[in-house]
Amino acid sequence: MRLFFELARRSFQRQLTYRAATIAGLVTNFFFGVLRVAVLTAFYGVQAEVNGLSLQGAITFTGLTQAIIGYLSLFGWYEVMNSIYTGAVATDLLKPMGYYRFWMAQDLGRAVAQLVMRALPIMLAYAIFFPITWPKSVGQWLALVVAMALAWMISFSVRFLANLAGFWTPNALGFVRFAFILMYFLTGFLMPLRFFPDWFVRLCNLTPFPYIINTVVEIFLGVLTGPQIVVALLSQLGWVVILGVACQLILRAGVRRLVIQGG
């Protein structure tokens, strides 16, 4: 546990050194956030709400999703794949610790840094420029914190799994990119999932993707209440476990392949 914390702390520290990248990221995220607000406002027109979501809720949705792009690495994360290709994986396998935990700890540091340096400023900027809503009760805030933490774990495992493709093919970039495009749509990042047809939402709910963003958004907006929140959090937890096991199994197969066929 101590080791996990130390790795995460160093990773957090490393993120802080990339100041220019952070500012660039902030500006970009906010700029596209404003664009998305404009599009949604046009889309709403004179309607007060669409599929049960008010315009104010929709604007909050764009702010929240823009804010957590960095936290969840929604637009791409290729570190494990790259370390397989550069051979750095070999020096990491020579360290006496689990490879999945090794990366998870470092990703936690990265995620927390992104939360502080990107998510908070963007939400603040939104609060200044747009009419947004906030969670209204302590319970809702608590649920939000738990949902955010679980969302990060699911996102990490999905990204880690996609990256493991690097063990099997010398060019997994296409595959990993495809996984991120899926995330873009199926998490409910592009549009709140409730804007999509029912059958599509039901399909999405069979995958872990909606639990990365949609759950967080619905808790934030207060769409989910009481028992629904509990069900959502438990579903998230279920995916954390399933994906964690999947990561370990596939990682083991990948390492076996590496050590048998050579890097």
Partner: protein
């Protein structure tokens, strides 16, 4: 005493797809790929005693790195046996790697964008090194490797020599029994090489760490190793004392003589004149034909001599001869 490493009939074969020429070839390759087998390591056996420092030599592609990777548990042998410290390296990876240290010259185990000291702190936690032991080792290595000048610099900003020193320190903080060094001096200047060699020697002699060193640089081997193993095409060509290798395959030794007067010719039995420059004459002779003392005796009985010097063939040309002329293969054929 049981050896720290026992390697028995070790093989590693890789299956590679054969690329065919042209579009048609590419299509055929897609439908019915053709494979060829590369025997990177082809039947190697050796033992290593605790506390040895062994040089593992061979040209590019000889199978050195493949062997080291198998010893480190990063590759599984196709067949054969490796036992290191009672462990089979590729099983129970975490337990095994906690007891070894490794430096791969081309790569770093440190975090690219962290200061060296932070990377070392992380390794303390990863290897669960007790604080006291960690501090003692760190103090020792900082001094020996001169780390203080750059210990707060991020690894990405280090020179190659500095990075290598940091990596050596990182590999030894947990007091491993065994240290694998794959090309630790590659690309370094003479001063940096010398510093690293002295450190390796210290680690082996003072701390008693067993070291396997692969290198291209024969001066590494000459300065550090008593025992060398030479590998080519996946086979062990030679395993024994460096001294003996030189004796057996060293080629011609030279005797440089400064005569007291200018002889128009100065022949002597058992040696040939290879060059002359005023009163200085260089003779070449073979170890198995005549001993240096004998030759000097003959010369001094015939001529007046001011000074003389025996020159041994350097190890580099010896080993080059071994590869080029396949001396060892012939030698082992003859032995069979």
């Amino acid at each position: 005493m049981t050896p720290i490493i026992r390697v028995h009939h070790l093989h590693k074969h890789f299956r590679l797809t054969r690329n065919r020429h042209g579009l048609l070839g590419a299509v055929r390759g897609l439908i019915a790929p053709e494979y060829r087998t590369v025997r990177a390591v082809d039947g190697i056996s050796f033992d290593l005693a605790r506390g040895e420092l062994v040089g593992y030599l061979g040209p590019n592609g000889a199978g050195k790195s493949t062997t080291i990777k198998m010893l480190a548990g990063l590759l599984v042998p196709t067949s054969g046996e490796i036992v290191v410290n009672g462990h089979v390296p590729w099983r129970e990876r975490q337990a095994y790697v906690a007891r070894i240290g490794a430096v791969f010259g081309q790569r770093t185990t440190l975090w690219w964008d962290l200061p060296v000291s932070e990377s070392l702190d992380l390794l303390q936690h990863i290897y669960k090194i007790p604080a006291q032991q960690f501090q003692r080792n760190l103090d020792e290595f900082r001094q020996l490797l001169g780390l203080d000048a750059f210990i707060n610099t991020p690894v990405r900003a280090l020179s190659l020599g500095q990075r290598m020193r940091a990596d050596l320190c990182a590999a030894l903080l947990h007091d491993p029994d065994l240290l694998f060094l794959d090309e630790p001096t590659i690309g370094l200047d003479v001063v940096a090489k010398e510093r690293i060699r002295q450190f390796i020697q210290h680690v082996n002699r003072v701390r008693g760490t067993t070291v396997i060193l692969t290198t291209h640089d024969l001066s590494d081997v000459e300065k550090l190793c008593e025992r060398v193993m030479i590998i080519d095409h996946g086979r062990l060509l030679y395993d024994g004392k460096l001294e003996f290798l030189r004796e057996k395959f060293g080629g011609k030794r030279q005797l440089v003589v400064d005569f007291a007067e200018n002889y128009s010719d100065a022949p002597v039995d058992g040696a040939e004149i290879a060059g002359r420059d005023g009163n200085r004459v260089t003779y070449e002779f073979e170890r198995r034909v005549i001993a240096a003392s004998e030759l000097i005796g003959r010369l001094s009985s015939q001529y007046r001599i001011n000074d003389l010097e025996v020159r041994e063939p350097d190890i580099e040309s010896t080993i080059r001869r071994i590869y080029e002329e396949k001396l060892l293969e012939n030698a082992s054929d003859a032995a069979n």
